[in-house]
Symmetry: C2
Subunit: 338 residues, 2 copies
DNA sequence: CTGTTAGCGCGTTCAG
DNA sequence: CTGAACGCGCTAACAG
């Protein structure tokens, strides 16, 4: 039984090799407490010698800090996320945290999953993007006072979880007002997926701005684009086929705008002469569409870094700001007017 | 000291509530061994009652299976990854594994990081994309016989780690041959980042095909595009400014192709009349560029699922196929000829 | 500055 | 079919 099952060394092996106690090894590992330079050097040599790394499970059990934060999000591959991650890591790395990601995409029945692989006992805190977690999961963390920050989602009623998001409604209003300023009146809206909060506020901004300018809202001019180029392409094609007259499209995100542009061009429409298009987010490819896309810039990276900052406060036991609203800004390119 | 520090319940609490031993709770949790239906029901009720989830650290220590696989990759936000993930999860979920991601992007000095947050003691195996891990880290896993599969990277010399990748050279050859067939002779190449293996083979395919058709290779026609639209845009603009004559561009990936198309159009070139463009990967946006992008389709999703399959074999203790090469295919759209 | 020791929560024997 | 008890590797007291 003294036989080591696998090639993995433990803190005891390191201690033995360095001729110190495990406590001392632990101290140098965690840079906690005082250790004589000479001793520390011996320990570090032993660590390298054995190619030792601490066992994360043991560390969890012993109750130390994990130096780990988790990010839960719905799907990968959106350029949006690249920026978000950058922002999050920027804040986190400075505090010595690593980031692990869990993607809920494809987990059709979330409830078939026994439990989240990232949770209160293997991370120090969680950042949750949009609606990637169920309300009950959020409640669970809340009950346990586990640090969680929501990104682009307001917390369920009764839960005091800090939230970081952007000024969706104002941004949408700017976009639509701009369209109207360009002389457009038949402005269509490509919404995000059902129940999406960003899309909800963007649509509200759209409606209110229309109303403010005395333009009646027409439900025929709203279709679901699901934040997806493909879905939006179909939606716009449908409008064309139905002979619905449109002189502008406000898309709930840049992916939708891309699909819209494509469908319009397929239908022989000129952008922006026949139909103007505005997106939302100002994702990296926005300047590469043809024509380059006018869009509402959301400060994604900043949102990420703010979220991480709030989480850090929580993890320190401090109180965090319950709502951080970041400003959006219209970026005018050529999809809107020459 | 019998006071529970936080609101977290343990297997003992569940056992007490269900009036059984912890061993029995463990059995129902892991569906191992025989448990009477009635007992099992009581235990499950208790679990729900307490909202209990097992402590992952304790589970790691006790040596059980983690039901967890890690994916290490360089950067997020590439549509490429969305597909890859889909493929991986498809194979993994069927076997009851969860997937956790770790992104090395932004960790400028990998060595400042004490150790990988995903490793042999908190996962059952790892999928490593391209060169996101150093050779020494790979060696470490190899020495410990820890299941690892490489995606788009051949293992370092001496390490017998299964690898899944695509037929880069053949794909590139098809692309270049097609360009030549369209009557192009001054074919430029936008390479991937220095040291990238995919790019290396794609460039080789480019050179060999040129040679096979008696077209001399000209180093002035090769520039770094870094798999990035922005970098490629600059590179192509430079070519234009230098007055270098080009009638086709073979881009090492679709991002580069997108940047190239943009730069060409800025310079007043018509695509494909003046300059034809071919990309690589057939990522989701390839059909949305204007004109739609001719590209070499890499079976990304399949690569992901094959990699996961090999990893599963390894985790079962079976031997895996050491090299899986997936075929590529030319997808002709309008960036190449009308 | 350093060593000793007591758990942390769970899976797994081994007895019943 | 069920229970008792050990030990996994580590950190945090507490002593020296």
């Amino acid at each position: 039984m003294t036989q080591r099952t696998n090639g993995r060394f433990t803190i005891e092996d390191v201690a033995a090799l360095a001729k110190v106690s495990t406590a001392t090894v632990s101290r140098v590992l965690n840079k906690k407490g005082q250790v004589a330079d000479k001793t520390m050097a011996r320990v570090q040599t032993a660590i390298v010698e054995l190619d030792y790394i601490p066992h994360s499970g043991a560390r969890q059990m012993a109750g130390g800090r994990q130096n780990l934060v988790g990010l839960i999000f719905p799907g990968i591959g959106d350029p949006f996320l690249a920026e978000l991650l950058l922002g999050i890591e920027q804040s986190l790395v400075a505090e010595g945290y690593e980031l692990l990601l869990y993607c809920t995409q494809g987990h059709s029945s979330k409830d078939r999953r026994a439990f989240l692989p990232l949770n209160e006992n293997n991370t120090d805190g969680l950042i949750v993007f949009a609606h990637s977690l169920s309300e009950s999961e959020l409640q669970r963390f809340d009950r346990r006072d586990f640090p969680v920050v929501l990104l682009h989602q307001t917390p369920p009623a009764g839960l005091n979880i800090p939230c970081v998001t952007v000024e969706n409604k104002k941004g949408a209003a700017k976009a639509v007002a701009h369209l109207i300023g360009c002389g457009r009146r038949r402005i269509a809206f490509l919404s995000g997926p059902e129940g999406n909060e960003d899309s909800y506020w963007r649509e509200l901004g759209y409606r209110e701005t229309l109303a403010a300018h005395g333009i009646p809202f027409r439900s025929a001019l709203v279709k679901d684009g699901s934040f997806s180029a493909a879905v939006s392409e179909t939606a716009v094609t449908q409008w064309m086929q139905d002979g619905i007259e449109i002189d502008a499209i406000f898309a709930a995100d840049d992916n939708s705008a891309q699909g819209a542009i494509f469908a319009l061009q397929q239908a022989g429409k000129k952008i922006p002469q026949d139909v103007a298009v505005i997106g939302f987010d100002d994702v990296s490819f926005a300047r590469y569409t043809m024509p380059p896309l006018t869009t509402v810039r959301a400060p994604i990276m900043e949102a990420g870094s703010k979220a991480a900052e709030q989480l850090i406060k929580l993890m320190r036991g401090e109180t965090a700001v319950s709502l951080t609203l970041l400003p959006t800004e219209l970026v005018i390119r050529r999809s809107c007017q020459e």
